[in-house]
Subunit: 342 residues, 2 copies
């Protein structure tokens, strides 16, 4: 038996369950019970054990626990472009929900958005024994990547395409685009142009479709959409072309940053917003209210999406089946970049 003192080196190794047990005068099993099912231990014993835990600053070793229980209390998030407002906010929502439920979050950000790298990200997380994985990869290729998953690993997708074979939490992009478009039509504009997001992004398609259908439902002409890449820069470049279009009085931009670039392009060619052209964005980034002019946009509650995704995953981990699809309603925020058609 190794006694304290046998070892001349004075490295204060972290206490283990046995140490706590010894100090409290019980068996290790009782310590385990105090930590996991306290109601099964006599109050006095429990108190003694807890005192010992505090005195030794004992922390259960999660690796050992994982090994025997098969559950880690950690979930993984596979994501792309966590610097963007949307993914970052979603991640934050997930993290908060996880924390409140005693879960820890590991992240695997992707170098690129391909089936391969998604599968690889899931794998890296799986090898860390996460209890489940949330994928934030709003690209149509994600569906592919999610089709060949290790069996038995609960996976939830955020903002996924329709055919994703796992539960999905997302903002209703279509509804948001419809709202934005109708808002512009209701101000008297003959039709609405669209500054779309990059192809094959789930949000791009959803917003494009919503915009088109809203126009068609009213029998309006559907202009050719212009395609950007989410950046203010692309909004600016495209905006310069768009600004030359005759009769263009209303634009629905697929996100706020492109709308920002567009605003600048319009200003540079002397088209006033909202007097000459109305602009609607999408996202409601915190600074949208301070654009010039303050941007009318569609607010997405990313935090709520994160919370829903976590809840779905928790259900899955708990054994609930079924390919659920949970949608969050976006909200139109009217500011000063939209006005009556003149």
């Amino acid at each position: 038996m190794v006694q304290p003192g046998d070892n001349p080196a004075e490295r204060p190794k972290a206490a283990v369950m046995e140490d706590v047990a010894e100090l409290a005068g019980v068996s290790a099993m009782t310590v385990s019970r105090v930590l996991n099912t306290p109601e099964k231990v006599r109050p006095e014993t429990r108190a003694r054990v807890l005192a010992a835990v505090r005195e030794l600053d004992y922390r259960p070793n999660s690796a050992a626990r994982v090994l025997v229980t098969g559950r880690s209390g950690a979930l993984g998030v596979v994501s792309f472009d966590t610097i963007l407002f949307g993914p970052a906010s979603t991640l934050y929502g997930i993290e908060r929900a996880a924390r409140e439920n005693g879960y820890l979050v590991s992240i695997a950000s992707l170098p690129a958005l391909t089936r391969r790298s998604i599968a690889e990200g899931v794998d890296r997380l799986r090898s860390q024994s996460v209890d489940g994985v949330i994928v934030i990869a709003p690209h149509e290729s994600a569906g592919e990547g999610l089709r060949h998953l290790p069996a038995g690993l609960p996976v939830v997708d955020v903002g996924g395409a329709k055919d994703v074979p796992v539960p999905v939490a997302a903002v209703d992009q279509h509804a948001g685009a419809v709202r934005a478009t109708r808002h512009l039509l209701s101000l008297g504009h003959r039709t609405v142009w669209h500054l779309a997001g990059p192809p094959n992004w789930v949000e791009s398609s959803g917003r494009l479709k919503g915009w088109r259908e809203a126009l068609e439902a009213e029998g309006r002409e559907v202009p050719v959409p212009m395609v950007g890449d989410w950046t203010a820069h692309s909004g600016y470049e495209i905006g310069k072309r768009l600004a030359r279009e005759d009769g263009m009085t209303a634009v629905f931009a697929a996100n706020d940053h492109m709308a920002m670039g567009l605003l600048r392009a319009l200003r540079e060619v002397g088209r006033r917003v909202p007097e000459d052209v109305s602009v609607v964005g999408f996202d409601d980034v915190p600074e949208a209210a301070y654009f010039w002019p303050p941007l009318t946009t569609v607010r997405q509650n990313f935090g709520e999406v994160g919370r829903l995704a976590f809840q779905l995953l928790l259900d899955r981990i708990g054994g609930v089946e079924g390919d659920t699809r949970r949608l969050v309603e976006p909200e139109l925020v009217v500011r000063e970049s939209t006005g009556m058609s003149s």
Copy 2:
């Protein structure tokens, strides 16, 4: 011995090392060696084992490995406000560096920035057996939180105050502020006003100090700094007051979003930028070039900070001692929001 088929239920349990060993006709130890020290195994044996690994889609169980080796190949990040551009970018930089080095990242975001919650975040990560922790908590109170750390856990701080008792990776805020201020003075402005960040944030103090010292070094009058909270909203509110100041021709805002609010406030009272007032921001958020006018600002290379922080942590894990302090130089990006004093 349990044979495949003993169990009527057809749950395809994940393969373990023993399964691979059996299929390859070797012992489990040899499999372990193939995975960890391949050069110690005869090539033919190695090939047989690797084939078996692939056939069974075997993944080592990291919990078991952690238990026996004491190292997890995961690091933790404690952070606050991961939605903001700075922390999000830093986190991304860390994640990328970690991935390239085979590390996984767990995050513990803080509900508030206090000594208590920092300590708690570190604890949550420690209980997951991370090999080390990076703290992104640019608040002066972080120093306190870092003073009482579990012994033996390598910790690195990002953007920390001077007295933080652990290695630090950060952008040289002071130098950035000096550069911004000198730039304005060099344009002929008599002095420079400052729209500061919230008190007790490391960045706020660093930028404030740099600004003040740059003015003092030239013997200029030092106006009373106005204090915001990083948001465009606060920049706008304060900007409305600032705009009434007589003789105010140059402002250094402590971040781009406050500068954005300031730009709007100036416009509203009819002061032109840069003709009447010059404005410099800090951060160079991707959309800064599309502000109206395009914002002169100080670019921080957050990705580089993340990389350095990871490197420092890796050194620490490897046993390197010493309280290193690694600074990244910021860069002044001149755009159109600054001009000669009229």
